[in-house]
Each structure stands twice: as structure tokens, then as C-alpha cells.
């Protein structure tokens, strides 16, 4: 597992710790890296890469590592962008749409309920369709925006991974997470890594990480 660290990332340690909780070793990859060979999963963690200056995720999207992420994704590798990671993936064009200021113009840090909208993805395969997960959000710019045509397409292609049960930020169609056309890139605003430990934030986020691990194992088994 690779966790990409941009200047201003601040959830990389949390992601590392969450995977460690599940017995998985992850390592940090600096934003200057140009090669992601040898990794099974790439995580773009939350935070404020480049201080959210210009637009959130906009500067990080041009980091050298993002070219490598692009190649990694094109080759079918699993890429998950959490919060700022989601914003970076949108800015880099690896996911469609954009994330805008929350409708209430306030930063929001609280647990929200999201519904698993599809289990047909390596990030949600361990969940039950329609399963409600309580996972914290922590963002100022998580208001997902896309054109009506794109929304229809996302719906038709079953690429909406999560929807908010009670829309906290004004996102189009309550969208909390979307998949790439190849279904191997996920962007989500909620922080699954903040919900893996019963003492801190509950364990509902585990299903996302578990799904990824299960998918990897079956992928490897299939290769053999």
C-alpha cells in the first residue's frame, strides 16, 4: 500500500494507523515520486495539500506523483482518494466532477450516515447494498458538483459508491463518493480511516478497507 504525502497532507498517519489496525503495512510515498511499481493500492489521504490555495486539490493535481497515479490507475491499480484526496482526483481528471464550498459555507466535522449505493466495486464489495455506515466527514469543500448529463451517466453506470442519508453539504444527488469508469478509482469525502477503532469513531469504516483487501486477495488468487 502506498500513501501519497503532499505538502499539507495531514491524514497520512491516520490512514497508516487504520491499515495497521487491520494488520496491513502501508508506506508513505513522497509527492515527487514518479514510480508506484510494487504497490497494490494507492491512497491519497485527506488534509490541505498546498494549503487549499488556488482551489482545493488544484496544485497537488500537478505533482509529479500524479502522473504515476494516472499510469497506476490506467493499469487497473486500486486508487482511493479520501477527502482532499478526492478533491485532487477530481482536479487531476481521474474522477469526474468537482468539489465546491459546502452549501452552508461552514467547515463540518461530524459523523454522518452514508448509504452504500453499489457493492460492485473493489471498495464496497464486502458491504451489503444499501448498508448504512456511520463515518465522519471533515471538510469545507465537499459539495459534489457535476452536470445533469454526467449525473445521469454516473447513475446509469452504477458509479455512485455512497450517498449521504442526510445531505450535509449540498452535494448533487446526495453524492458522497464516486467511482471511475473502470471502477478501480474511488473518491469519497467521508474518512473511513476515522472509523476503524471502537474507542475512536466506531468501526463502520472498516468495510471499505476490508473490501479493498478482499478484492486484492481475490485479484492475486485470480492471477495465480
Amino acid at each position: 500500500m502506498a500513501i501519497v504525502v503532499f505538502p499539507g497532507s495531514n491524514c497520512e498517519q491516520d490512514v497508516l494507523q487504520a491499515f495497521a489496525c487491520l494488520g496491513v503495512r502501508a508506506e508513505y510515498v513522497w509527492h515527487h515520486a514518479t514510480d508506484l511499481g510494487g504497490f497494490d493500492v494507492v491512497v491519497l489521504p485527506g488534509g490541505f495539500s498546498y494549503g487549499d490555495y488556488l482551489r482545493t486539490g488544484a496544485i497537488a493535481a500537478f505533482s509529479p506523483v500524479m502522473e504515476a497515479v494516472r499510469r497506476f490507475a490506467a493499469a487497473g491499480g486500486l486508487v482511493i482518494g479520501i477527502c482532499n484526496g478526492f478533491q485532487i482526483l477530481c482536479e487531476a481528471g481521474l474522477l469526474p466532477g468537482a468539489l465546491r464550498w459546502n452549501a452552508g459555507l461552514k467547515f463540518i466535522c461530524r459523523p454522518v450516515t452514508v448509504r452504500v449505493e453499489t457493492t460492485d466495486s473493489p471498495f464496497t464489495s464486502a458491504a451489503v447494498a444499501g448498508q448504512a455506515l456511520e463515518i465522519p466527514i471533515n471538510h469545507f469543500q465537499g459539495n459534489y458538483h457535476c452536470s445533469p448529463a454526467l449525473l445521469d451517466q454516473l447513475d446509469a453506470e452504477d458509479r455512485i459508491a455512497f450517498r449521504y442519508a442526510d445531505n450535509p453539504n449540498g452535494s448533487v444527488s446526495d453524492i458522497a463518493g464516486v467511482l471511475s469508469a473502470g471502477r478501480n478509482v474511488l473518491g469519497m469525502m467521508p474518512h473511513p480511516e476515522r472509523a476503524v477503532d471502537p474507542a475512536v469513531g466506531g468501526t463502520d469504516g472498516r468495510v471499505v478497507l476490508d473490501s479493498m483487501l478482499t478484492s486484492l486477495w481475490s485479484l492475486r488468487a485470480g492471477v495465480r
Binding site: 505538502p7 495531514n10 490541505f48 466535522c109 461530524r110 474507542a199
Partner: protein, 739 residues
């Protein structure tokens, strides 16, 4: 050496130096100071930097204990917990936040975080005790003033959210209190906790002549020239907008890089000494770190990266540009240090060398622009300011306080008061979860945090009560310490250390200085009684507008250690659990929130018995360690009424309680007697709790039973939990909503 300008004698007064202070500077230098030197002394000898009015009192505070690794006088205090160094400190950013609330709050956080960083510690938590004038929903101030207060709340919360969230340090607690005395002078205090391996604690020491002085971080501009002396060391008058040019703008992104780069430098073992740049900028950081090590320093101003053209030497020396640190490294490690900063994209420049001269010598393009004994800048004057006890207001006899016309309405009035209601609107804008260490976050009596590298957890709280300190600064301050300790005990933590932020009016006023001296005496006595050494603190004077001082507001920050068991939580947990009160309710409505909110009267405060407070703490912690309690909640502001309300809401359960015989219901319900904790227990655990309490002489009274969907107070009131929740949760959002 350039010759001093002829006008220099009158200049010193403009810079806030007295004639005596100026004479002392001449004596130290053996000549007249030049402009740059005079500016350096003026900021370093300002109240804010020199503590010249408060020093004699602060010396009296208890500061020792086996757990104390670093006491007062450094960037932050440090205590040892489970083999890990825990750094703690609070600072104020009151005046800057009044001028520009967003940037004032942002730079306040930046400053305290660098204080913690300067000890070699990683910041892991922030708390923000905030005090403002009333919001427009109250009618105690003019509408325009209330509107301005709301603007300040909005701005300060935004600033904390913007900066704290970006640097990835969770904001885990604090206070938000409204009182007319803060209308022209809000209090924006910020507390930070940091951790480090014990062996990696760093100090501001420029050891080793020949070593290299590095300046890290942002470029230097004309930010806050004379800021500390102008903003924090003089009364605040109308028309303060003219001071706007000295407003400093926060850059949380650079701060985040600074945190990571400095910690990496320390981890690499290349740091000889490290010091933050805050008030008085380069001048303060260089002179302090040299003086602390008994060395000197030669600084070359042309090597200081600048943001603006044409800056004078004194401007570069005293600029308060944010997000900068001073790091001392050996010449051998210079390249490694610079490369590390480059990797983080952080500016770093060699600006000078450590010398053996004991002097701070400043050059610009080869010309000496200042040359002073380094230690003399930090060795400012000490004042014994006049102290005079003001006339006392007659105490309010409790027998005088009539019962409310409608008990239910009174309970709801408290639950919906902006100072007492839920602060969720505020803390949901703060990232309180990052770092995955927040076991109990904002909204609880105290935050409980995991301690990286240790098995034990720590708990943190910050408490104050300005109205009580106005009534009696000695006893009021003792109460603040006692309440902080109680807040820690109810989450199972044993208090081990205190830091403080003493917010007062003009020290040149004898009544203010009397209140200050009494407050410090109270702080010392209470901390001695409760075994919590004072590891440092901050004094903020001149909190007044148009000649009116704020209430004396000493904010007590306290850290405790949680051994094993998790906190029971504030909320009732199960129907049928028994509700008990640990401690005794006395008829003490003086100074109560009931008196303020329902009767609109102020004055007075409850009594305090520190020995009983300590015994209560032992009982509560013992009961939590033995898992006897289902819930525990500090019973203080708002009395039992608010404690019951909050325990019902946090647990989503109702309760039925019976008023105590011998006290009128409203006295029993609203009295704010100290030394009380509201708890709930499973019935079979009550005997064990009683035995534990009896051994310490702490009374346990049975109040009632958890259950149902309403708070039932005898036959007097029956309030659905849903109604309480609506009032308690929505009061602040409603008050902050624009018409």
C-alpha cells in the same frame, strides 16, 4: 556604529519606554542607543515580553513536582506521563482578534503551536477558551454592539477552523462564554498540548560559538511592527482601526511545513537549539537563545529574506511576521538542515553565527546597526505596581432570591442561554478527530486523548469564571482551579499540571493590580492544595476599552493522567440506573447562572473547601477506576438543573429526581456549590460507591432514577427530553443566524 538621531530622547516615550527605562538602557550601553537599539529595548521591555508588572507575583507560584520536567520560563511547560514528555501552554490573542477576528485567531493558534514546537514536541491538541460580549438574542447591550459581537464570534471561530484544521492538529475542547464585560475586548485564548520522547526535548539555547543561526519559514515583512508593545501593552481605545496595518495574516500551510520540517530536523539530530519567533521577532529569538546559553550572536540582516522593499533594520529585527522559527545547527550539519527544509519546500537561510561575546551584534551589509548585551534585552525592568483593594459590593444574601414563577421555564432559560447551551455549532467547525487520538472530544467535561508512545491517556481542560473573579479574585481563581480538577476527575483523570492565561485590565490601575495579585495568590494556593504545579503561563494585561476593564479572567488549563478505565461519559446510560450526587448542596445562589439569567442580578460567589474538593476527586477517580459509575458529570455552572439536563441529553434518556428535603426546590436545583459531581450507577454498585465515598468523608445523596423520556423534577416540573434538546441544541445556531 551609526550615530543616534538627535530626537532620540523624545522617541523613547513614543516607543512606550519611560524615562527611567531609557536611563537604564544608556547605563547598560554606556552610550545613547541608536534607533534600532531603542526599538529593540522597547519591544523586549514591553509588558507583553518582559512581564515587568507580573513577575514578582508569578515567582510565588508552586512549580515543582516529580512529574515536572520543564517549569516556567521556557516556551512551554513539560511534564512526564508514562515516559513521554507532554508540553502544555496557553496564550492570549485578545487584541489582534478584536481588530481582525479571523486573522487574530489564526495567528494566535500559529503562535502557540510554535511555542510547543520550540520544545521539540509535536502539537497534538488545541483548546480554545473564548469570551465575547452578548449576542443579539440578549438585550444586555446595544443592538449594534451585539451585532459586532456576533461578527467577532463568527470570525474567531472561522479563524480557528481555518488554521487548526489545515495544520492537522485537532481542536478538542475549550469554552465559549458571553458576558457584557467582553463586548469591547473579547478574550481569545489558545491552549496547545504537545508530545515528545523525553530525550528529545529541545530548548532555546544557542550553544557553541561558531554554530550557525538559521531562520526558517516565511519571509519577513512589516507585519506587526511594534505589535506586542502596541497591541498587548496599551489600553484599547476607539479608532483602533488605524492600527490595522500591523495586522498579521496567518499562513497555516507554511506552519504545517514548519512543524514537519522542524520535527524532522530534531529527529535527524542536527538541532543544537530551537526558538520560535513570536512577539518581537528576530530580536527576541536571537537575544533569548544567546542569553539562555551564555553566548552571543552576530546577525546579518541582508541575509533575512524579505517580503517588502526598503525595510529599516529595526523593522527587520522587530517584525512579527508569522510562521518563522530560529534553529541553531553546527556548521557540519548546515547543509543537511538546509536540504531538509528544501525537501519540505520551506524557506531557510543562514542569518548569523553564535559567538562567545555575550553580545547581540547586528550588521546590515557589513555595517553594525546594533550592538547590545544579549541578556540585557530579556532582563527587563521589574515593577512593584501600586495595589489597592477596591470598594466591595455588598454580597447578595441567598435568602433574598425568590423562586422563579415557573420552574420549567427557568430550567429551559438556562438550557438555552448562549453561555450554557450546546457549543456544537462552534466545535463542529473544528477538526477534532485528526490524529485518531481523540477518545473524548469537545462537548464533554474534559477531552481525553491517546498519548502517542504511551499506554496511558491524558485528559485536558481549560476553565475560568470571570464573574466570580470579579466578586472575589482570590476565591474565584481557586474555583477555576477546582473546577478544572473536577472536570478531569469526572473523566477518570488525576490532575498533574497547570498552565494559565491571566487576562486582566490595565496594570497601572491599583485596583486591577490588586485583583491580579489576589488571583495569583488563589492560583498558587489552589494548585498547592490539589497537587498541580504551575508549569508556566501567559499574562495578558490592558484588556480594557474606553477605561472599562474586563472582569479579571484567569483561565486555568489543566492536564491529567487517565490510568486505565475509559471515561464513563457525561450521559445517562441505562433506564433504572440510580442518579446520585457526590458532595453536598448548600444554599448558594450567589453568583449563580440562575441569578444572572432569571433574576438578572450579579454578584457574590459560592464558598470553596479545597480539601473536600481533593477528597471528591479521589472518590470519583477511584469509582471510575473500579468501573462503578455509569456516568459522571461536573456539577457547576447552572447547578443541578444544567448537569441533569446535559446528562439526559448526552444519554438520550429521561430522569426522575426528587428535591432534597430542607432546601427550597429552586435553591437545590440552581445552587452552584462547588465540590459536586452528578453520577449514575447501576443499583448493585451503589453500596461499593457509598463505601468508597464514606472513606473520604464525601456525602452521597440519592436523587432519583434514570428512565423515561422527560426530566421530572419532583412534582414541580416535567420537561420532555426532546424539548430540552431543542432548546439546548438550537440556542447558539439561532443566535448566530443572521436576521
Amino acid at each position: 556604529m551609526s550615530e543616534a538621531p538627535a530626537t532620540v530622547v523624545s522617541l523613547h516615550r513614543q516607543l512606550g519606554l519611560t524615562d527611567d527605562e531609557y536611563a537604564r538602557i544608556e547605563e547598560i550601553l554606556g552610550r545613547k542607543p541608536n534607533h534600532a537599539e531603542l526599538a529593540m529595548y522597547s519591544v523586549m521591555w514591553s509588558e507583553h515580553c518582559s512581564y515587568k508588572s507580573s513577575k514578582i507575583y508569578l515567582r510565588t507560584l508552586p512549580s515543582e513536582g516529580p512529574q515536572v520536567l520543564i517549569g516556567p520560563g521556557e516556551g512551554a511547560g513539560i511534564v512526564e506521563v508514562d515516559g513521554v514528555a507532554v508540553a502544555l501552554r496557553i496564550e492570549s490573542h485578545n487584541h489582534p482578534s478584536f481588530i481582525e477576528p479571523v486573522q487574530g485567531a489564526e495567528t494566535g493558534i500559529g503562535g502557540i503551536v510554535r511555542d510547543i514546537l520550540s520544545m521539540g514536541a509535536r502539537p497534538i491538541a488545541l483548546l480554545d477558551p473564548l469570551r465575547f460580549g452578548p449576542l443579539p438574542v440578549e438585550d444586555t447591550v446595544e443592538p449594534a454592539t451585539a451585532e459586532r459581537n456576533r461578527f467577532l464570534v463568527e470570525g474567531v471561530v472561522t479563524g480557528i477552523s481555518t488554521y487548526g484544521n489545515c495544520i492537522g492538529v485537532p481542536t478538542v475542547g475549550g469554552e465559549v462564554v458571553f458576558d457584557p464585560c467582553y463586548s469591547g475586548n473579547p478574550l481569545v485564548n489558545v491552549m496547545c498540548i504537545g508530545v515528545a520522547p523525553v530525550e528529545r526535548i529541545m530548548l532555546a539555547r544557542a550553544h557553541g560559538p561558531g554554530n550557525v543561526v538559521l531562520l526558517l519559514g516565511s519571509k519577513t515583512g512589516r507585519d506587526g511592527i511594534g505589535g506586542v508593545s502596541v497591541l498587548a501593552s496599551s489600553a484599547f481605545e476607539e479608532g483602533s482601526e488605524t492600527k490595522r496595518p500591523s495586522v498579521q495574516v496567518g499562513d497555516p500551510f507554511t506552519e504545517k511545513l514548519l512543524i514537519e520540517a522542524c520535527l524532522e530536523l530534531i529527529e535527524r539530530g542536527v538541532v543544537v537549539g530551537i526558538q520560535d519567533l513570536g512577539g518581537a521577532g528576530i530580536c527576541c529569538a536571537t537575544s533569548e537563545s544567546a542569553a539562555n546559553a551564555g553566548t552571543g550572536m552576530r546577525i546579518h540582516l541582508e541575509n533575512v529574506p524579505r517580503r517588502e522593499r526598503g525595510m529599516e533594520p529595526f523593522e527587520i529585527l522587530t517584525s512579527e511576521s508569522q510562521e518563522r522559527m530560529l534553529v541553531i545547527v553546527t556548521p557540519e550539519d548546515e547543509e543537511e538542515a538546509l536540504a531538509t527544509c528544501r525537501r519540505w519546500g520551506l524557506g531557510a537561510s543562514v542569518i548569523g553565527q553564535v559567538t562567545a561575546s555575550g553580545r547581540l551584534e547586528v550588521f546590515e551589509d557589513g555595517v553594525c546597526v546594533a550592538d547590545v548585551p544579549a541578556a540585557s534585552l530579556g532582563d527587563g525592568p521589574v515593577y512593584y505596581r501600586p495595589v489597592e483593594r477596591p470598594h466591595e459590593a455588598p454580597p447578595v444574601p441567598d435568602t433574598d432570591v425568590a423562586p422563579p414563577e415557573d420552574l420549567r421555564r427557568a430550567v429551559l432559560a438556562l438550557a438555552g442561554d448562549p453561555s450554557l447551551c450546546s457549543k456544537r455549532w462552534v466545535w463542529e467547525q473544528y477538526d477534532h478527530q485528526v490524529m485518531l487520538g481523540t477518545v473524548t472530544g469537545p462537548g464533554a467535561d474534559a477531552a481525553v486523548l491517546r498519548l502517542p508512545g504511551a499506554r496511558k491517556r491524558i485528559a485536558v481542560t481549560a476553565d475560568a469564571n470571570g464573574r466570580w473573579c470579579a466578586a472575589d479574585p482570590y476565591l474565584g481563581t481557586c474555583h477555576a482551579v477546582a473546577e478544572a480538577a473536577r472536570n478531569l476527575s469526572v473523566v477518570g483523570a488525576e490532575p498533574i499540571a497547570v498552565t494559565n492565561c491571566l487576562n486582566f485590565g490595565n496594570p497601572e490601575r491599583a485596583d486591577v493590580m490588586w485583583a491580579f495579585s489576589e488571583s495569583v495568590r488563589g492560583l498558587g494556593d489552589a494548585c498547592t492544595a490539589l497537587g498541580t504545579p504551575v508549569t508556566g503561563g501567559n499574562v495578558s494585561f490592558y484588556n480594557e476599552t474606553a477605561g472599562r476593564s474586563i472582569d479579571p479572567t484567569p483561565v486555568v488549563g489543566m492536564v491529567g493522567v487517565v490510568a486505565d478505565a475509559g471515561p464513563p461519559g457525561t450521559g445517562f446510560r441505562g433506564a433504572g440506573h440510580l442518579i446520585v450526587l457526590l458532595g453536598e448542596t448548600l444554599p448558594e445562589l450567589a453568583g449563580s447562572e440562575f441569578l444572572r439569567i432569571v433574576h438578572r442580578r450579579q454578584g457574590g460567589l459560592p464558598s470553596l473547601d479545597l480539601a473536600r474538593e481533593a477528597a471528591l476527586g479521589r472518590v470519583v477517580r477511584g469509582a471510575i477506576a473500579r468501573s462503578l459509575l455509569s456516568s459522571a458529570h461536573d456539577c457547576s455552572e447552572g447547578g443541578l438543573a444544567l448537569a441533569l439536563t446535559e446528562s439526559c441529553l448526552a444519554g438520550g434518556l429521561g430522569a426522575a429526581v426528587t428535591p432534597e428535603d430542607g432546601l427550597p426546590v429552586h435553591v437545590w436545583l440552581f445552587s452552584e456549590t462547588a465540590g459536586r459531581v452528578l453520577a449514575s450507577v447501576e443499583p448493585h454498585r451503589l453500596p461499593a460507591l457509598r463505601a468508597l465515598a464514606a472513606a473520604e468523608g464525601v456525602p452521597v445523596s440519592f436523587l432519583g432514577t434514570v428512565g423515561g423520556d422527560a426530566l421530572r423534577i419532583g412534582s414541580e416540573a416535567d420537561i420532555p427530553v426532546a424539548v430540552l434538546r431543542d432548546v439546548y441544541d438550537n440556542a447558539l445556531p439561532a443566535a448566530m443566524r443572521h436576521a
